[in-house]
Each structure stands twice: as C-alpha cells, then as structure tokens.
C-alpha cells in the first residue's frame, strides 16, 4: 500500500475509532481532586530548576550528588541515626498507651524532621480518618525510587511506586464514598 493512502486511512481511522465516554467519569474524577494539589516535591523541583537552566539530566544529577556529598561532609552525617532514635521514641509512646492521635503527632514530628533534612516526603495526615489504621499518613521517597509509607497506626512499610498509587487510590475512593 502506498504511504499517502496509508496516511489517509490512518487519519480517517482516528475520526472513526471512537466511542461515547461515560458522562459520570468527568464528575467522578473531579471528586477525587485533592484539596492541596502541590505536594512537597523538594527534590524534583530542584531537578526541574537545574534542567530549566538548560543542563542535561546527567549533569543535573551529578550537580545534585556533589551537593549532597558536600552537605554530608559539612554536617558529618550526624543525622544518620536519627531514624532509629525516632523508632525508639515511637515504641516508648506506644508503651505508655498513647495510641491514635499520639501516633499521628509523632509521625508529624518525623515528617517535619525529614522535611527539614531535605528529604522528599509528603504528608497526608490532615485529610485522613485517624480511625482507619491502614490510612497512609506519610510517604517518604528513598534514593532507589521506592517509598517508605507510614500508616495511621504507626507501622511502616517499604512499597514500590505502583503499590503506593494503589494505597492512595484506595484512600481517595474511600473518602469519595
């Protein structure tokens, strides 16, 4: 078949391979719009700024890595045990019987701590049901692209990005109901 004829057929096909879209879909999606659109994407914003400066992605990545090494050297990696200390603190709070809201407030402290350290973290605690033990309170992106998710009952789990999307979708759907 000649190329012109093929292009013509493809153009026609684009007009004819179509179907009515469920009209409720639009409203359903709109209901899921989160109250706050912009999350704390500190890491990505930095990457985007560097890319906007017309640097290649690899140069941008190298610049970020060098900056991070410099910062670690400057501060001597003193925060490296912060995570463990925090876990111990959480266990103590639980031991003293402070479940529920104290879990959320201690998670919030951890979130602020990580945010201060420049980690890529997102907080969902303001819009979840504290009674739902499986509600996601916070996500923390790790260097390998996976996420550590903290739940309302205080337990943590390392998940892939796909699993994270599933967890967040479940919460949004529950909220929409």
């Amino acid at each position: 078949m000649k190329e012109e004829k093929l292009q013509e057929l493809l153009n026609e096909l684009s007009q004819r391979v179509t179907e009515p879209v469920n009209p409720d879909l639009c409203e359903h999606i709109k209901q899921q719009i989160p109250h706050r659109l912009a999350r704390h994407k500190i890491g990505w914003d930095t990457v985007n700024i560097i890319i906007d400066l017309r640097m290649s992605k690899s140069v941008a990545a190298a610049a970020i890595i060098i900056t991070m090494i410099l910062l670690v050297n400057l501060f001597g990696g003193r925060d490296s045990t912060g995570g463990n200390l925090f876990q111990d603190g959480m266990l103590l709070i639980k031991y003293w019987g402070g479940a529920g809201k104290s879990d959320i407030s201690s998670s919030r402290t951890k979130y602020e701590h990580l945010l201060h350290r420049g980690e890529e973290v997102t907080w969902y605690g303001d819009s979840i049901d504290p009674e739902d033990s499986n509600a996601v309170l916070m996500q923390h992106k790790l260097a390998d692209g996976s996420y550590v998710v903290m739940f309302a009952d205080g337990h943590e789990k390392e998940v892939s990005s796909e699993e994270l999307i599933k967890l967040l979708t479940r919460i949004l759907l529950k909220k929409a109901k």
């Binding site: 493809l10 009515p20 879209v21 979708t169």
Partner: protein, 206 residues
C-alpha cells in the same frame, strides 16, 4: 425490535462523532495564552484549574486508553489514575507548551505499568463507527470499511512501543514534538519509530 435498537445505537454513535468533531475544534481553539494561564493556575494549586483540566482532557485520555487496547472499565480506571498521578506531580509541569506531552506521558506510563502487571491480558478492540456517505457506491464502501478494519487490527497487533507512536500521532493528533515528549524519547527516535510502525502497517494492509 433488534433493528430499532441497532439504529438507535448507530444514531447515538453518530451524535457522539459530531460532538467529538466539535470538541476537536474547541481543543484547537484553546489558545496558547489560555493554556499558559491554566498551567500557571495549576502550579499555584488552584482547585478550579484542576477541574478545568479534567473537563478538557478526560475524554482524550479515556480514548487514548481505549486506543491502546484497554477495555472500557479498565480505561476509566486508568484515566482516573492518570489524573491522580498528574496532581501528585503537578510541580514537574513546566509551562503551557509542555501540558499535552506531560499529561500523555503520565497516562502512557500508567498504561505501561498496567500491561506490565497483566501480561496475559488480551488487547480490547474499539469499534469503527460507520459514517453515512452517499457519494460512494455500496460495494466500494464495503471494501473501504474492510480496509479500515484491517488497518485497525494491524495497529492493535503492533508491538506496544510502535502502537503507542501511531496512537499518539495519528489517533490523538499530537504533533511530533508533543508525541515525542509523551513517549519520553527524542524527536528523532520518535520519527524513526513512526517510520517502523508505518512500514509494518504497509505490509499488513493490502
């Protein structure tokens, strides 16, 4: 009775086709200035801008999913997931020109992840709408329709990367630059994929 139902279905499809044409015109009229303003409002976390984004794009993204071979229900789910991902990555959207490519790239990734998880799932076809055309003879029309059906099946059988290039450029009517951005590849790579896809289609369709 059955004939009446078929006739009603065909009329509904034709009405949809006309709406689709009107929407296409509307999309093209959507000026760069308005798109820049929409992106600026999105970046400022404007809730109404997010709703406007859904209004403009939900049909396109749904049909993109259908044309990539997902069935109706899955396409609806993946459309929702695409917007959800878009909101969570709104900070990565740079300017108005990048909007199309950015949103389609998110949708394409959502689709890719779905296929990766459901490797054995069959590609679901989408019907070709019959358009009334008085000029053509009946037998020519049948031949032409068969050719379109053959082409549609050939597109569905292309490897996923090649199918995506055809769907982005021809079905979703994105420019080469936008489609390349949506596929997350360089323009040159996109053009070469497009050529490979067209070559494969030329062989398959008589």
């Amino acid at each position: 009775m059955l004939k009446k139902i078929n006739l009603a279905e065909q009329q509904a499809d034709l009405m949809h086709l006309n709406t689709e044409k009107r929407n296409l015109g509307r999309r093209k009229d959507y000026s760069d200035q308005r798109r820049d303003s929409l992106v600026a409002r999105l970046r400022a976390s404007d809730h109404t801008a997010a709703a406007e984004l859904v209004d403009i794009y939900y049909e396109q993204i749904y049909l993109f999913m259908r044309r990539l071979g997902h069935d109706r229900q899955i396409s609806e789910d993946l459309t929702q997931e695409s917007f959800l991902n878009a909101w969570h990555h709104i900070g990565q959207l740079r300017d108005g020109k990048a909007l199309n490519g950015w949103l389609y790239r998110i949708a394409g990734n959502v689709s890719k992840l779905y296929w990766r998880k459901h490797k054995n799932k069959e590609v679901a076809g989408i019907e070709i709408i019959d358009m009334p055309d008085n000029k053509d003879q009946e037998c020519d029309k049948v031949g032409h329709f068969e050719q379109l059906e053959q082409l549609k099946n050939a597109v569905a059988q292309l490897p996923s990367k090649l199918r995506q290039t055809i769907v982005l450029h021809y079905m979703q009517e994105l420019s080469i630059a936008e489609a390349a951005e949506a596929a997350d590849i360089r323009e040159g790579t996109f053009k070469s994929r497009l050529n490979r896809a067209l070559k494969a289609l030329r062989k398959s369709v008589i």
